[in-house]
Amino acid sequence: MKLLKFFAIFIVLPISSGATSAVFAQTPPESEIVVPFVLDECIKSFTSPQQAATISVRMENKAEETRQGLPLAASNVAPNATTAVAIVASDKDGRGVISFSPKRPVQGRATNNWSLEISAPFSKQDNQAVLASLAGLGGDIVASGSFSRFLWDISPADYGRAICQECARVGIRDLLLCSQFGLRQVAKQRHLDELKRQRPSDSSAPQEIRQEDLEKLDATAEELAQRESDVLDAKLQDALFGRLASKVWSLEASVGHKERTFFTPAAEKEEEHRAGHSFSAVGGLVFQSWSTYTKLTGKRDYKENDKATLCKPITGSILENCTSQPLGRAKEVESLILATEGRFFFRGFALAPSVQYDFETDVWGFEAPLFLIRNSDDRFTGGFKLAWRSDQDNLVAAVFITKPLLP
């Protein structure tokens, strides 16, 4: 009986009949069975490389790859691989950032990215825009270069087994129909047939159904099939990606230059040009519904000493002219910072909270960027963030906005 039912489905859902053009909205299928479905062959095709080996051929440029991330400068843990400009600003200060990442071919299961990022504070006096990012360098200009590698961790064999078994279960007879899209169309056709059968007995025969009724039935069948396929698609996505969809790792080096002046103990004003630097290693895991990144940074930076004031009498006046400068050369500060970040995407917004800890100074930092603004390409481009660090004990609020320079 079941076999007959499946057979009936394919009587009304031939692969190429004109009558099914409304069902197959994207491409009307062929009428004859092009490739008979055989379960074992179907499963095998997902696991064994065949003779027709695939090769890449350089093609003329058509359109740039879109490789969007979350907005630049919003997050300081996950690797960045975008070409964009960004501004992040709090009530005290801000920072401008520009990032360049060359487009590179996706090499099989891995994608390699190089990126160069340069940032500068709005004010040379105050680097508040670094906010709670403990790993950030203080400087008039900070340059960072990074290499990141993204690896898919997918299971074609598990996916193949799951989808081929599902195709066999619903009675698919043509291999070309065996996809999530095909299964959805088969489910829709099944619901449409059922709805037609359930029409009141005094109604006209199926072939005489009015067009508007047919459209209503079609919409209902679509909705029922969608609900059914949501469950099935989730199961198939689980089979393809498992819990862990991909991994990413990255290495980063940064250097920050700041022109500093200070008083010597002899009250002479001098300049120094030492540059801070840092090295980071990042590891990330992309799960089906969220991602997480951990970054370890070793940093050597410079912190200015407390200021001393030198006052000189003004000739012909009882007043004095005073200037303040840090007393002595800036102190060298070494840090080892561990940071972790999670990224969560929702319908209209995304969150990327991060926690950081400096082992050398025993300082904690926390950042919570909220991504709210999308551009016409549906890419997140702006939002605001809250930041806090234990040594300053004040909550800083900042806004950020990004303009991708490549589509």
Binding site: R58, V106, L177, R379
Partner: protein, 96 residues
Amino acid sequence: MIIPVTVVFQSNGQKRFLMHNGNFVPIEPTGTAVIQCQQNVAELILFGIEGPSGSTATITLTPQAPHILKIVGHPIKGKIAQGKTVWGDNRFFVVK
């Protein structure tokens, strides 16, 4: 007979992959790849994207003229579901 098929894989996700008959296929930054297919033989592509929920993908296959493609659901369209970071699907097709 081997027939080149141009695959254009456009996506606003962060990452994408394309497999053909069990092998990963390099994709140019333009989103283009070329796969070599046998005439009248069932070929399989498996593909996916990673990115924020709502990210979309459109994949178009064009065999070298005058050959034609037998495929169901083309151009291929997909979208990362709400609360997810990945989407993937497959297609069997024949080049005639």
